[in-house]
Symmetry: C2
Subunit: 219 residues, 2 copies
């Protein structure tokens, strides 16, 4: 077995772990939004409690990456792939933190009658999950085109977030009793917007793997 | 000259760049808060425009780290130091993004008469800048004790943020005309709280350099 083949095999293992971490993170976002919609406190608690496992996963993958650099001493593109893995799991971990943020806000809302049916927040969550999945796929397949397309969805998310913001301010102005609830929704929407930023970061890393250049597409 | 000495020299250069990036980021936070207090739109614009330079600095340091790994092939603790540098500059860059977030909110507030004198937000900003500076010092000197002490300030920041949150909700309930302004202050306070989280992340990396173990102290 050549060293090169060994590196590829080890890399594939890292990629499988990243995919697993990605699906855990996606599920955390999913459950956080479901808990919010259903006002399900138990489910919100499950998201908060589940974060430790995602943190452990991050540390595990980090250690694998460091081991791979130390033992295989990759250069050029191979080094950039590992390097990107290290950066990417930081973004995944932060996305999971935002799922926890959403769950914490949800817990404050479980006993309230919602001032409006939740439509736009689940919609923004759907786009954001879609971005996350495509960002990870673009990494695994080093698909720069997909990475570029995925970044563009960030504008849609920013637009939706701005719209949600305006609506919530209007609801607060309409009736002061809406204020507390609306500020929670405001924060939840801003967390989802941040998740989209992290997915965009991942896409930027994919472009970096191929080109060796890091472009800031969040601006 | 031995390879070891060469590595140390190269590492020192990376550390100087990190310190420079750190002071740029600190200045961004400083100016963002000063612009907010003085309602100075030009200064807010300067913070927003200055972010490109910080992003360039991140990319430059990243490239230096990758080059150092490729040419010097460090192992064990040396590899962890470089690895930590890569993670740390991501945190610095995100802190700078939050300075931009604050500046953007400030621009919406320049023509308003403030509903209350700004005392707690500059106070939380002071603690946060202090945390950032100590986190960087603890990295450069691999001072685990300082890293541990710095993390503990995060609780103080969380407490202050919670207090600001309660006050702003009360102001919104008091008079609906306060709502727009209060939501901007609410976001600004939450950005500062995030900055403290990033400083805590940096401290966690310092502990990782020494122990090889990554602990989540943000929880």
């Amino acid at each position: 077995m050549t060293a090169r083949t060994h590196f590829d095999q080890e890399l594939e293992k890292v990629h499988l772990h990243i995919l697993k971490m990605g699906s855990m993170v996606e599920e955390a976002i999913d459950k956080a939004i479901e808990a919010l919609v259903k006002q399900d406190e138990e489910m919100a608690d499950a998201v908060i409690d589940g974060d430790d496992k995602i943190d452990e996963m991050e540390v595990f993958i980090e250690n694998e990456c460091v081991r791979l650099i130390a033992t295989q001493q990759p250069i050029a593109r191979d080094l950039r792939i590992i390097f990107t893995a290290i950066k990417l799991i930081t973004d995944l971990e932060r996305i999971a933190d935002h799922a926890v943020d959403i769950a914490k806000n949800t817990k404050r809302l479980v006993n309230e009658v919602y001032i409006k049916p939740l439509i736009d927040i689940p919609r923004i969550a759907d786009i954001v999950k879609h971005m996350l999945r495509d960002a990870l796929t673009s990494y695994i397949n080093t698909d720069v085109d997909l990475a570029m397309r995925t970044c563009k969805l960030d504008d849609e998310v920013d637009g939706l977030h701005a719209q949600i913001y305006r609506e919530l301010i209007a609801l607060m102005l309409e009736d002061p009793r809406n204020i507390k609830q609306a500020t929670h929704f405001l924060f939840i929407s801003s967390y989802l917007e941040r998740v989209a930023d992290h997915a965009t970061n991942i896409c930027e890393w994919v472009i970096f793997v191929e080109t060796g250049e890091h472009k800031d597409l969040n601006a």
